[in-house]
Symmetry: D2
Subunit: 278 residues, 4 copies
Amino acid sequence: MEQLRVLIDADDEKGLVYKISTIFYEHNLNILSNNEFVDKTNGKFFMRSVVEGDIDAKNLKKSLSNLLPTNSNIEVIKPTKKNIVIMATKEMHALGDILIQHEAGELDANILGVISNYDQLKSLVSKFNIPYIAISHVDLNRDEHEEKILEYLSTFKDIDYIVLAKYMRILTPRFVEVYKDKIINIHHSFLPAFIGANPYKQAYERGVKIIGATAHFVNNNLDEGPIISQEVIHVDHAYDWKDMQRSGRDVEKIVLSHALKLALEDRIFVYANKSVIF
Amino acid sequence: MEQLRVLIDADDEKGLVYKISTIFYEHNLNILSNNEFVDKTNGKFFMRSVVEGDIDAKNLKKSLSNLLPTNSNIEVIKPTKKNIVIMATKEMHALGDILIQHEAGELDANILGVISNYDQLKSLVSKFNIPYIAISHVDLNRDEHEEKILEYLSTFKDIDYIVLAKYMRILTPRFVEVYKDKIINIHHSFLPAFIGANPYKQAYERGVKIIGATAHFVNNNLDEGPIISQEVIHVDHAYDWKDMQRSGRDVEKIVLSHALKLALEDRIFVYANKSVIF
Amino acid sequence: MEQLRVLIDADDEKGLVYKISTIFYEHNLNILSNNEFVDKTNGKFFMRSVVEGDIDAKNLKKSLSNLLPTNSNIEVIKPTKKNIVIMATKEMHALGDILIQHEAGELDANILGVISNYDQLKSLVSKFNIPYIAISHVDLNRDEHEEKILEYLSTFKDIDYIVLAKYMRILTPRFVEVYKDKIINIHHSFLPAFIGANPYKQAYERGVKIIGATAHFVNNNLDEGPIISQEVIHVDHAYDWKDMQRSGRDVEKIVLSHALKLALEDRIFVYANKSVIF
Amino acid sequence: MEQLRVLIDADDEKGLVYKISTIFYEHNLNILSNNEFVDKTNGKFFMRSVVEGDIDAKNLKKSLSNLLPTNSNIEVIKPTKKNIVIMATKEMHALGDILIQHEAGELDANILGVISNYDQLKSLVSKFNIPYIAISHVDLNRDEHEEKILEYLSTFKDIDYIVLAKYMRILTPRFVEVYKDKIINIHHSFLPAFIGANPYKQAYERGVKIIGATAHFVNNNLDEGPIISQEVIHVDHAYDWKDMQRSGRDVEKIVLSHALKLALEDRIFVYANKSVIF
């Protein structure tokens, strides 16, 4: 008995659930969990099912494709460990949180490597026998630097997600295009507040009473990609921006880890610059 | 085009979604929203759908009954205002919150009346032209007091929910039995912590750093019925128990209103002394 | 034995606490609570003490003034009910929450009146025997409309705070100047995200996973005054903007009530477009 | 210029702040931060000040002792790294979180060693060059096992705190007595709910909608010591107890790290089985 994750998004129309559940029934599948959402504004249908049975993924996908409207997206996914690459700069907390989960066997992913534009994190990453690749940006323009990163990334056959665990450089549209909807970033504010550099300083200047963190897919506009997860904590007048930064680290790592978990479990649909999460 | 809420719980078996969606399809219904949950431990299936179409509720229920296992519970509900009675004692915040929502037209309910064992709330309730019935417990034993309340309640043809908005007396099993799964209480602690009298004092004595409130259905064991909704707030050493009580009021009213809203929208299944909420 | 609230802000220098506590000691006062904060960035000292003793407020203030640097701000406040005017438009929840607290005797304020640019809230406000003044903006330009409001406000000898309980019009600098640091507004977003009109629609478009509310003093820049209190709730893809609006109401009313409570208890210092709150 | 933390608790009486600030003034100290709390119920005064100046800790303590009531507790602490020992069993998340902070230089502590009753965590701890001592409980009674642990602990001259990072065995009164108010435990529920074994299973059975974690000092009654910090997360019907356990890990590690940080910064007073935290 095998489990499969079935993700379908389609233009909404009457009978979709009926058609899909008919296929499941005819293939003698047990539905372990089932989530649906209809975006009425955009006329879109989303469904994620976990099914169990004696079935081949390709066959199931074919059956679904035959019955569903032609412009539907159908994914039938075998739950296996996904391949991720982590990019970071100097800060240890978000990266460390993922490494510990990986070490504990709680992360459904293989970490192919960690890329940084500095050497600082090498000592930490090496402890865990994970490849550390320092690609300095010094003396390189943005394109040259990214070229080197892309070159390294291209040595891997399959990368499911690139996780920016406080990678403090902006990626160009070219880079983003190569890994569309595959790059997960943690931004250290509750977006869309405090886009850009040093959000904690911005938050301090504005005198906010809550600070937060946002995990999102990266698109071509800085900090404007589809949001996956957000969380906040309360602060008060006694916090200067460095206190906010210190306190914010816990939120950052938790939010990033949560978003990564959702991605690894194939729970995220991206549509209209938003996420549907089951 | 009419909307109906369909609530089904059944022993889990293969093909339930297929069967139900077939019925919906054959009746030419549009599924506006659909939630399912399978409790694997207990082998139970729960589903709530909102469907739209040119259909009679009785017909739809009959079709579903014919196809589903005989011990399934099937409810097909026309979304109309439900009838509620509120019981309170002396505190105004939880009751007031419901009255304001009612006045604003934001509560999908008719308030048939407010029962209290004191006179204090009469002035407030009367402003809103809602019947206020003071049934004092003085000089009565518990059974006699409840008898009077039950008598008053029996004058109403239909009561969907009885809302205990800080009603500070314990109901007997006899009373509870009459309105099984229809009595919603707000308890001023995050149950199961601080069951019983004066939970804020208990919380203060214990030195907790969070206090909370719990909305639950009332069963025969004090504060042990199925939980619907819970929320907490942070406190610190500077709070004495009266400060906790004051701060707790906001949580109490919000949690009770939230639970009531879920009930009025037919979003709650009760099973195994727990709630499944869609 | 009388209680007094002493609020002092001054340029920070060595010995301030010593000097102030000396005065308290010499006046034979008991310190019931004491909060201090030094803003190192700006070299500012803030202190709020509640003292008890046989003392006249004027005398105490004089003693403090004699000893403290000349540009210090010293307030010695007798805790009495403050006078507030509420301004609203059509929505009932934030206004209703304050009215219920007032009715319950839990609000340390006299509500002098409620001003609205519509008639809708009259029925609610009148139940509580509070003056309702509808001042329509129709056929008036902004200045003319505000002139009428200011005229009405000028009939009161003392207004401690003007509470904008979802008053949906922007106040001009002229109006704001008259009631500087006395106007408390509730904005229906976690500022500085979603400044301006219909923040819930903006939040929906952006696909955020948290929405919030911000209570702040009003200054001359829209939604940019000193923040007093903020709170958020989680939302997901299933919320359209009207769902966000509905769910947001609870946060709005709680945050506004909280900020008002802080103001009525003289717990807020405003400095450098921020608030220090004890 | 040196910084010192001054912690004073005393029976409350008029003039304490005056006396203390006089001492600070006479020693020509700058007050960087100052927190006070009077527990009116118990007539206790608590104060934590951070002062800066050209001063010796012993001298300052002597001056304070001379002026304050004899049964006052006065601590004058030089902010240096404290010495901690971590005890754990098999789970990696809480321990790992502390190790990463330590590695990042964000923990004001020397980790003298990690003690476990199993071997599982050795591989992780060894990566960080921290001594790992496996002291198996197999074939030993509780006293014998603890004797071995105490023996190991006694090899250290100074232990400021023992951190139980999911150490799953109950400590005897004898052990607790040796390290009174120095043992910080993380319990995986919002105490006092779900005392004892497998709180997640208990939480699941009860059908709660929030789960949490509590960091507390250990005393002689299981899970009943003074609470330092608590936090919760929301769950729903779809969580079985293992899901709760998985989701709870993040709360556990954050709450424990937070409590440890408070302890390392000398921000906690313990009194009447509660904590006062500045």
